[in-house]
């Protein structure tokens, strides 16, 4: 079954002539048609685009001229990445009809590498949320248990990767939105260093925190995708011109002698005992492979969540100001004058979570409160960054749980603050701009995936991926498949 294969395996079949990109695209489209009605990972399936791109890839591969290891590989992207000529909704009513005339740089790079675009994936509206219940269109479901959330905000991307509804996907991570749903869905999810991947064409939530990254079935596949999308971009001044290593090659070498730090503050009260046990076991596996583990302290961790919930909404309130009904997207009828049109449009176009954060952010930035809130949060951010710097003087990589618990039931968390706690172990990494990955590290007795988070130095995705790959080579968790497949006929 082509949809079960990793990118590496699929590429090998293409090159041996045992399968074609068109066959792979057709297999994925068929699987989406059969199963996505239950998972609801996709907002838009771009069937014609996919088949056209696959046919072009067929020709290249037949001629022995693949563009990259991703040539002909069916992928899908979160619906906040702009796709030329394909609607890009951000999971919001206000952009329901928005069709960008440009590709995000990562999308352009995927196209240039020959990847085949299956469609656009569901998400929490404007990437605000931890469950993908805040999509304006419908919630996505966890492929391991359709009554549970896939995590968020890249829930569609995580569910699609985990459920074999795409060979790999892209998501975005502002406070954990790649790693947390990867953990909930049992996929590999990588958030690169801030600046490593161009944000051009990523519809902004919080500009200083957002980063695009891959979801994949294996660490090796994530490395392949990162290799295609990473690198400086003249259109994004915050992207950094640091050489992009060959991530696939960097996986070799194992963890013999690697210094792994265990941050005490990440094993918090309230951590699900099953999660804690699985992560401790994972750390023991790394130790068994030759890594040296030691305890480290990140003393300002507990200030990460409050700082994040000032900085991210502040930037969001600014980034979302452009959705006013004047230029594109939704315009609510009936306003008698301009201000009323703005008000009605934004009232109708934004969901509750987005409105909550716009209000919070506007307040935090307003004159008289700026220093007390936004300014102070930025100073906390500096302290958190310094904590990591000090830890990385002693260790090469940090290992911790990705989330305090496992996927919860749809509708279970009604208190926003309870929801926000999901990201408590991922947020500090965004505040510090570091690379982090979540890899499958076990299951609860109820059969729900658990994630191990590995965090690295700035621009050192290679080490993070190498440690994660070594762990994956020694374990089988990533090979388990969710019980999605239709009963055999």
């Amino acid at each position: 079954m082509l949809t079960r294969l990793t990118i590496e395996e699929l590429g090998a079949r293409f090159r041996r002539g045992e399968a074609t990109p068109s066959q792979a695209a057709a297999a994925y489209l068929e699987r989406i048609a059969a199963l996505d009605g239950r998972v609801k990972a996709y907002l838009t399936v771009t069937r014609d685009t996919a088949l056209g791109q696959a046919a072009a890839a067929d020709a290249r591969l037949a001629a022995g001229r693949p563009l990259s290891p991703l040539d002909g590989v069916p992928v899908a992207v979160k619906d906040l990445l702009c796709t030329r000529g394909i609607r890009t909704t951000c999971g919001s009513r206000i952009l329901e009809t928005f069709v960008p005339p440009y590709d995000a740089t990562v999308v352009a790079r995927l196209r240039a590498a020959g990847a085949v675009l299956l469609g656009k994936l569901n998400m929490d509206e404007f990437a605000m949320g931890s469950s993908t219940e805040h999509s304006a269109f419908f919630p996505t479901r966890n492929p391991w248990d359709l009554g549970r959330v896939p995590g968020g905000s890249s829930g569609g991307s995580a569910a699609a990767a985990a459920g074999d509804l795409a060979a790999a996907t892209l998501g975005s991570d502002t406070g954990g939105s790649i790693r947390q749903p990867a953990a909930f869905c049992g996929a590999v999810g990588l958030k690169p260093t801030y600046g490593r991947v161009s944000r051009y064409g990523l519809v902004a939530f919080a500009s200083s925190l957002d980063q695009i990254g891959p979801f994949a079935k294996t660490v090796a596949d994530a490395a392949l995708v990162l290799g295609v999308i990473a690198g400086a971009d003249r259109r994004d001044s915050t992207s950094v011109d640091v050489p992009v290593p060959d991530y696939r090659a960097a996986l070799a070498g194992g963890v013999e002698g690697l210094r792994v730090g265990i941050p005490a503050e990440y094993f918090i009260e309230g951590l699900d005992p099953e999660v804690e046990a699985a992560v401790q076991t994972a750390i023991a596996v790394l130790r068994g492979l030759g890594a040296k583990t030691e305890g480290v302290s990140l003393p300002h961790t507990r200030y990460g969540l409050p700082a994040y919930y000032l900085i991210a909404p502040a930037e969001a309130s600014s980034n979302l100001a452009r959705y006013d009904g004047v230029k594109y997207g939704l315009r609510a009828p009936g306003g008698r004058h301009l201000v009323e049109m703005y008000g009605r449009t934004r009232a109708a176009g934004f969901g509750a979570e987005v409105k909550r954060r716009i209000l919070l952010g506007a307040y935090a930035l307003s004159a008289g409160y700026y220093d007390a809130y936004y300014g102070k949060a930025q100073r906390v951010r500096t302290l958190i960054r310094r904590d990591f710097q000090q830890a990385f003087e002693r260790v090469d990589v940090l290992a911790a749980p990705t989330t305090p618990g496992v996927a919860f039931r749809l509708g279970e968390k009604t208190d926003p603050l309870q929801m926000y706690l999901n990201d408590i172990l991922t947020i500090p990494v965004n505040l510090a701009g570091l690379p982090g990955v979540s890899v499958p590290a076990g299951f609860t007795q109820a059969g729900l995936p658990i994630g191990l988070q590995l965090i690295g130095r700035p621009y050192d995705e290679a080490t993070v991926l190498r440690a994660a790959h070594a762990y994956q080579q020694a374990t089988e968790w990533h090979r388990r498949k969710p019980p999605l497949d239709p009963a055999p006929r």
Partner: protein
């Protein structure tokens, strides 16, 4: 209430002469079809990011150096938020806490008194678009937006509140505009909006260190407007304070039709701009070496040039001042002097004849002058050589200006060469004397004015081509003494 002291500060917005916009590659050319010079970036579409235009920064540094400012090595952009349909993102990328440059000074002279006005800051920002209403705003059935201007680079130059009269404010604006033109950073066109000015004005008892309640005046698009609006506001605020009323802190618009300022919005509803550092742009580091390279390339500025013109060319301070009002005019003058050699003669022709046709401070008009400086020099050489008279030269000048041809070809084509041949003129003088015996008699009887009539008749007979000196000499010789 003339015992109150006037306190004025000016905020001048200058559109920078870059080819492309502040944060994208779109053209900044004026007058293109609506929205034809836009892209996703300057339209503020979802997901796009700004990239700083290096050339705009360079022009800003150039200006700041000319104004003696300190360049901030570390400066950055911020977002300034307010809702308006011509603002694509509903925030404007501007500079706030860490501007490009601070603490400069502009020397001005008003009514013969030199003054040094402090410059608070020079910063960069993007312009917004333009709303186009179908008919009057209140009744317009529809309104559209043209984003061609959105993202055009602007430089804001903020003075300290050190101007003490509307006249000084106008003088400051004039001096600043001249410097911008010299630097080639702005075309200075106030009608097209490439130079815009807002003023803050308040009154206070003389000697007071406190400022009065200030009023902001917008919408002044000429030097006259600035001066008149401020004069009106001095009277209005003076009357209010004199009557024991409070001046309301507000923004007012200048209505040139009615010659008064009108309230635009009360500051009670003033915006809270919610500034915060632009996260999409890393801080801009201005290396000292870059600043020094720009400094090395600075042109001679108007004040220095004025002094040099007076010293080197022996011109009066007044003439030197006029000739240096625009860089193009000063360049024109110097080029003509180079080609002809007599600075005073050139200055006279430029000031008396050329400036009748062209405004001194309009560089574009001067640069497009149909008489290139070499051709003016050529005309003056014809006078020097005695080929044409000064009076004839003025007619030739007019023809040159209209046709763009050079003086020798016009003179040759119209047969305008001066009659300087004594023999030929002598015959004409004889004829005139013979034809006017009555006038000759008047002259002999002491009516000296009769000579003028006879000169005129000779000129008329030669169609103005006679050399006046020679005519006078011949008449002196031929008229009977009495």
């Amino acid at each position: 209430m003339d015992k109150l002291e006037t306190v004025i500060g000016l905020e001048v917005h200058a559109q920078l002469l870059t080819r492309s916009k502040m944060f994208c590659g779109c053209s900044t050319a004026f007058g293109a079809a609506p929205n034809s010079q836009t892209c996703p970036v300057c339209q503020g579409m979802p997901g796009v990011l700004p990239v700083i235009n290096r050339s705009a920064v360079e022009l800003g540094i150039r200006t700041a150096l000319a104004l003696g400012c300190r360049i901030n090595e570390h400066n950055r952009f911020a977002r300034k938020h307010y809702y308006y349909p011509d603002m694509p993102k509903n925030y404007q990328i501007s500079q706030y806490e860490e501007p490009l440059a601070e603490h400069g000074v502009l020397a001005i002279e008003v009514g013969g008194t030199p003054r040094a006005i402090g410059i608070q800051r020079v910063h960069l920002e993007e312009d917004v678009g333009k709303l186009v209403h179908e008919g009057a705003l209140e009744t317009a059935p529809s309104s559209t937006v043209d984003f061609n201007r959105a993202g055009v680079p602007l430089m804001e130059i903020v003075s300290k509140p050190e101007l003490r009269s509307p006249e000084e404010a106008a003088g400051y604006l004039r001096a600043l505009r001249t410097i911008l033109l010299y630097l080639g950073v702005c075309d200075g066109n106030m009608e097209e909006g490439s130079l815009r000015c807002d003023a803050n004005i308040s009154l206070r008892p003389p000697g007071s260190q406190e400022y009065g309640v200030k009023v902001e005046i917008k919408n002044m698009n000429s030097f006259r407007n600035v001066q008149h609006a401020l004069e009106h506001e001095v009277r209005r605020q003076g009357n209010a304070l004199g009557a024991g009323e409070q001046v309301v802190q507000e923004t007012r618009l200048w209505d040139p039709e009615r010659g008064r300022t009108v309230s635009m919005r009360s500051k009670e509803y003033a915006h809270d701009y919610r500034y915060f550092p632009e996260p999409d742009l890393p801080p801009l580091r201005v290396a000292a070496a870059w600043v020094e390279a720009i400094r090395a390339g600075l042109p001679e500025l108007p004040a220095a040039r004025r002094q040099r013109f007076a010293a080197t060319y022996g011109l009066s301070a007044y003439d030197a001042d006029l000739l240096t009002q625009g860089r193009a005019l000063a360049d024109y003058f110097e080029a003509a002097v180079q080609a002809q050699g007599r600075p005073k003669a050139v200055a006279n022709w430029v000031l008396n004849e050329l400036l009748r046709e062209l405004p001194a401070d309009d560089d574009r008009a001067v640069a497009a002058c149909p008489i290139p400086p070499q051709n003016l020099a050529g005309l003056l050489r014809l006078i020097d050589d005695g080929a044409i008279s000064g009076k004839m030269a003025k007619d030739v000048f007019e023809t040159m200006f209209r046709s763009g041809q050079d003086a020798p070809s016009i003179v040759a084509r119209e047969g305008l060469t001066q009659v300087a041949d004594a023999g030929e003129l002598s015959r004409v003088v004889d004829q005139v004397l013979a034809a006017n015996p009555k006038v000759v008699e008047d002259w002999r009887s002491g009516k000296k004015a009769a000579l003028g009539f006879l000169v005129g008749q000779v000129m008329k007979a030669t169609q103005g081509r006679a050399n006046p000196g020679l005519v006078n000499r011949l008449l002196g010789e031929k008229l009977p003494t009495g």
